[in-house]
């Protein structure tokens, strides 16, 4: 079992995400995180899916995804093959702000992106391990809410969408 990032380059058609996710459902594979966005090219979307599974399975998943008619290309990488980032938001009660917390924010390079009379919201971007570490610490500061995005990633391999739509 290993963590893999699957990249899917697709036409921007209705239902495409459903077509892709049912492939995982059918094989009983849990999607750890998923993000979808536009790509550099108009009309083409990219979906980034994070899964923890065997390489054998990830190959079959990618083959099945690529069979979806409106998918242009699907491929996968191990963590070493991608540059990736996640964003996490932490909501902390104002009453718990003190010097200790200030030090923690500085140490982790987190930012305060909103301040309201009752709470502040901290933001940290990084790998899951980093946002997780801050999460564990902030649990001691009356953490009110926590949210983390799926992985956004680009492959280290020097290929572009243009290579797939030639």
């Amino acid at each position: 079992m290993k963590r893999y990032t699957i990249f899917v380059i697709t036409e921007n058609f209705i239902g495409i995400l459903n077509r892709i996710t049912i492939i995982f459902t059918r094989r009983g594979i849990n999607i750890d995180a998923l993000t979808a966005s536009e790509s550099r090219v108009d009309g083409i979307h990219r979906i980034t899916i994070e899964v923890t599974t065997s390489e054998e399975m990830v190959i079959q998943l990618v083959n099945q995804i690529e069979k979806v008619i409106d998918v242009i290309k699907a491929f996968y990488h191990e963590d070493e093959g991608v540059v990736y980032q996640e964003i996490a938001l932490y909501k902390i009660p104002v009453t718990r702000l003190d010097g200790g917390l200030e030090k923690i924010i500085r140490q982790h390079n987190a930012k305060i992106i909103a301040a309201e009379p009752q709470f502040v919201v901290l933001e940290l971007s990084g790998h899951k391990e980093q946002t997780q570490e801050l999460l564990e610490i902030l649990k001691g500061y009356g953490l009110l809410e926590f949210a983390r995005s799926g992985r956004v990633a680009v492959a280290k391999r020097m290929v572009t969408i243009d290579d797939f739509i030639k």
């Binding site: 239902g15 459903n18 190959i59 008619i69």
Partner: protein, 564 residues
């Protein structure tokens, strides 16, 4: 509005005509009524067959597609009409049958409101179609149908569903049909790589006990001649899968039998003794391989396959040869040395003898009073035409008919292989027959399966399709009963059937019918049926508790194939 504009419903029908569809199998209803209204005007250009149930329509379209190699077309209304297609879609998807199914849908402004007969058929059919789409605007109809036909018939064929909202059918638009010739996200198939051919040829040239397994891919790829030439040159023993039957004449000296759970003894057993396994257009279904951990482990595997997702899915290929097998087989034939394998072939014949004594003797020339399914098929062989099409349902009769039917020509085997859909045979036989009235179409069916779609006798009556229906009646759901006997201590849980008088049912539909109770009546009855000009219903009362052998039980290895 310009004069050149026509209704969306007319665009639907004209698009089908532009794709050279000859026949539509369908059933009308509210949301598809505009298209039915249009069909009224086009009845001279395109034929419509009214089945008695939408499941009948889609299985008929499958039968038509399988026998013709063309795209089967099916029409249904929204809601229940659409959901009744689902079994057929799943069946066509797993058996790679090209279909275009058009369903009506509630008007676009009602979508998502639980309107009358509204169902999310695009959502429901997503996993069971090669592609599906909802069309909500008249201008999108023709491009969707063009794309649908292209997807259904190209690459690895499959079913397509196009859901058209009622407003799109009644709105007016321009008809200028442009056939689809491809689009960027869809690769039909990869080109055959020369290096892969060379690697495969090297393995084959060095092999002492090479073995060919061929599947429906050969038929779908129209590569029957290429397969024959390859075998003529290499002399390699070849066995067929269930759906591959017919791709090679059984008279060919290299033909050694059929593979799988109820296939022949030698072809299964010797899979684990070959040194090079050449799989052509087949997908190593679990019914073929048995326990994968003990499947052909000693062999180098060459896999000629169009669909990249099938390579290394179940069996790891040492040399995958991706691409169209029509191309790869002829390239491979060029690259291999002329050879023969008499000793290796003799081994198959030797084991075949064992099967003859232990199984076939009983099946074909029984000593007991009761009729066997095997002797019925054997008698059919004596009188059938070389290109007679065998259409079967699912269960014991299917396995027996397949085992004993003498396949000589392509497109003669129509059965529900992957999905195992009971109720498939009767409508599929109708569809196959409507492609060619002059062709002998023999529908072999069990007493369980026929009752799942028996209403299609009505369609056979109305179309006067001269289908020959052979009902092998053992008053049991025979295959389930066999499993209950073998693996569940003979606890016959809900498998015995109290059946109606089938002859009367057939006669009520105006179909000539006859029942055979004893051996002495069989030959003449089959002869009568096959020469009869028109549809014919022959019920044969067979042994109640007979079993199909050989058998590879679930979880067993191919080498554990049992003769009793």
């Amino acid at each position: 509005m310009k004069d050149s504009m026509i209704r969306g419903a007319d665009i639907v029908v004209e698009s089908l005509i532009a794709e050279q569809a000859e026949i539509i199998f369908g059933y009308p209803g509210g949301a598809i009524m505009p298209v039915y209204d249009a069909l009224y005007d086009y009845h001279e250009q395109i034929k419509h067959v009214l089945t008695r149930h939408e499941q009948g329509a889609i299985h008929a379209a499958q039968g038509y597609a399988r026998v013709s190699g063309k795209v089967g077309v099916c029409l249904a209304t929204s809601g229940p009409g659409a959901t009744n297609l689902i079994t057929g879609l799943a069946d066509a998807q797993i058996d790679s049958t090209p279909l275009v199914c058009i369903t009506g849908q509630v008007a676009a402004h009602l979508l998502g409101t639980d309107a009358f007969q509204e169902t999310d058929v695009v959502g429901i059919s997503m996993p069971g179609t090669k592609w599906n789409v909802q069309v909500r605007r008249v201008e999108d109809i023709a491009p969707a149908i063009a794309k649908g036909f292209y997807i259904a018939r190209s690459g690895r064929p499959g079913p397509v569903l196009i859901d058209i909202t009622k407003n799109a059918q009644v709105d007016f638009g321009e008809m200028n049909y442009t056939p689809c010739l491809g689009f960027r996200s869809y690769k039909v198939h990869l080109p055959v790589e020369k290096t892969a051919i060379q690697q495969a040829a090297d393995l084959i040239n060095k092999a002492e006990r090479p073995y060919v397994l061929y599947g429906q891919g050969v038929v779908l790829g129209k590569a029957e001649t290429e397969l024959k030439f390859f075998l003529d040159k290499t002399g390699i023993p070849a066995a067929s899968t269930l759906l591959g039957s017919g791709a090679l004449s059984q008279d060919h000296p290299c033909f050694v039998g059929k593979l799988g759970m109820h296939g022949n003894y030698a072809p299964n057993l010797l899979t684990n003794q070959c040194d090079v396994l050449i799989a052509v257009g087949m997908r190593f279904d679990d019914r073929v391989t048995g326990d994968l951990k003990r499947y052909a482990k000693q062999a180098k595997v060459i896999h000629l396959e169009l669909d990249p997702a099938e390579v290394n899915k179940n069996v790891k290929a040492d040399v995958p040869v991706l691409g169209d097998c029509k191309e790869s087989l002829s390239m491979l034939t060029e690259a291999v040395e002329k050879k023969s394998h008499p000793e290796w072939l003799a081994k198959f014949r030797e084991l075949e003898q064992l099967e003859k004594e232990a199984v076939m003797q009983h099946d074909i020339s029984p000593t007991k009073n009761g009729l066997t399914m095997g002797e019925v098929i054997n008698q059919i062989n004596q009188y059938k035409a070389d290109d007679a099409v065998l259409v079967t349902d699912v269960g014991q009769h299917q396995m027996i008919a397949w085992r004993y039917f003498n396949y000589k020509k392509p497109h003669t085997q129509i059965t529900s292989g992957g999905l195992g859909t009971m109720g498939f045979a009767l409508p599929a036989a109708l569809g196959a027959q409507l492609y060619d009235y002059s062709r002998q179409v023999i529908c072999v069916v069990g007493d369980g399966g026929i009752q799942m779609t028996i209403q299609e006798l009505g369609t056979i009556m109305q179309t006067k399709a001269p289908v020959k229906i052979v009902l092998l009646n053992n008053n049991y759901l025979g295959m389930v009963r066999q499993w209950q006997q073998m693996f569940f201590d003979k606890r016959y849980s809900f498998t015995e059937l109290d059946n109606p008088e089938f002859i009367k049912i057939a006669e009520a539909y105006g179909i000539k019918a006859q029942r055979v109770n004893a051996r002495g009546e069989l030959t003449e009855a089959i002869e009568d049926m096959l020469i009869y000009d028109g549809s014919y219903f022959l019920e044969v009362m067979v042994e109640k508790e007979d079993n199909v052998f050989p058998m590879i039980a679930t979880g067993c290895s191919v080498e554990e194939v049992r003769l009793s």
